[in-house]
Point group: C2
Chain length 215, copies 2
């Protein structure tokens, strides 16, 4: 498969993990988001939204939106399953995933940050309050649910990695980048550390992709 | 089934339509979001996120996040299917749904609007620029994709109603409430009008629910 992505895209990170876990061979083409590669005509022809990831599976049309791609891989690829078989457990894994992918991550993407700075004239440091509020709101919900709901196990849903974990870790790695205090979220932290110990996650880590800053 | 919702919740609207289309009997309990019912301990015990919808199917734990609920209903309930059988078509329907449910709707919910007004001291009218930007960005992407991708039919994906349509119409009804100019989105409009002509959609319409303003 061939994916258009970027080292720092939380959404592309989720898809890389899924492909690693399922043993799917893929090539990733890294767009330079700072240079606006995502808004150039060549890429807009692939995804009019100007967003990564966009995945090609053979000759078919591009697949977009990370959660839709995860479901597509789940439905079409052999290998490890990333959603449990029980419908209620599946629904819980998906709900936790969507706390991140719907209600948290879209609030702090560059297009939103840029709008706040450009339209409202907010200096970067004040704009970041919006981003930090999004992070802490999402992390609080995850912590509360993971710490109290009986479905939580070694990972978000039971003892197998699911879409919820792919989303959790894609949020977690941002806490370091943006200096979010993680002390109030011990359950999220425990699961994040379990995930980072997996080769499939470690190899997909944003800071291990081409273009990432050298630490 | 029993759902906690609210007349104006775009997410609850999606779930109402699905239940109507599938012929599921349900009772909806309407929270007063202006009075902060969603943040009272009784409801936070159901959904720590303080968000609707929350759905009970029998004695099981609450189901949350509208897209996760739609998938749960699809996987467990008889009746009309709201995702196509073909994996690529399913992925496209889901991707279009997520343009709304991930990248558009979460940007204009009350908690975001309140943060912009309270934290940055923006007057309501200036705050609404953020909301309008979210709407127009989402509508532009939908229009571009629906007008050009071969998968579009009578509805978003082919000639059968799918999750993409439930999300599209949940965005569309907001254009009237918030005074968004819809002229640049003729394909979205055509599909919205098809959908509003369906009983299952009309009966689920926000303005036909208890608590809605009388027009």
């Amino acid at each position: 498969m061939k994916m258009y992505g970027n080292w720092r895209s939380a959404a592309a990170f989720r898809v890389r993990i899924a492909m690693n876990l399922k043993g799917i061979a893929y090539e990733e083409i890294f767009l330079d988001l700072d240079a606006g590669d995502q808004f150039k005509p060549d890429f807009l022809a692939i995804n009019p939204q100007g967003a990564v990831p966009a995945l090609f599976d053979g000759d078919g049309p591009p697949l977009t939106q990370s959660l839709a791609i995860l479901d597509y891989l789940e439905e079409t690829q052999p290998g490890v399953k990333l959603l449990p078989a029980d419908p209620r457990a599946r629904a819980r894994a998906r709900s936790l995933a969507q706390v991140v992918a719907c209600d948290t991550h879209p609030l702090y993407v560059p297009r939103v940050r840029n709008f706040l700075m450009e339209h409202y004239g907010l200096p970067r440091e004040r704009m970041l309050d919006f981003l930090r509020h999004a992070f802490t709101t999402g992390l609080k919900v995850l912590e509360q649910r993971l710490a109290t709901e009986p479905g939580t196990g070694r990972y978000c849903q039971g003892d197998a990695v699911s879409h919820a974990d792919l989303c959790l870790i894609s949020l977690w790695v941002g806490t370091g980048i943006f200096g979010i205090d993680t002390a109030p979220y011990p359950t999220v932290k425990r699961i994040a550390e379990e995930l980072l110990a997996l080769d499939a996650v470690a190899h997909a880590h944003p800071l291990r992709q081409p273009g990432a800053p050298v630490s």
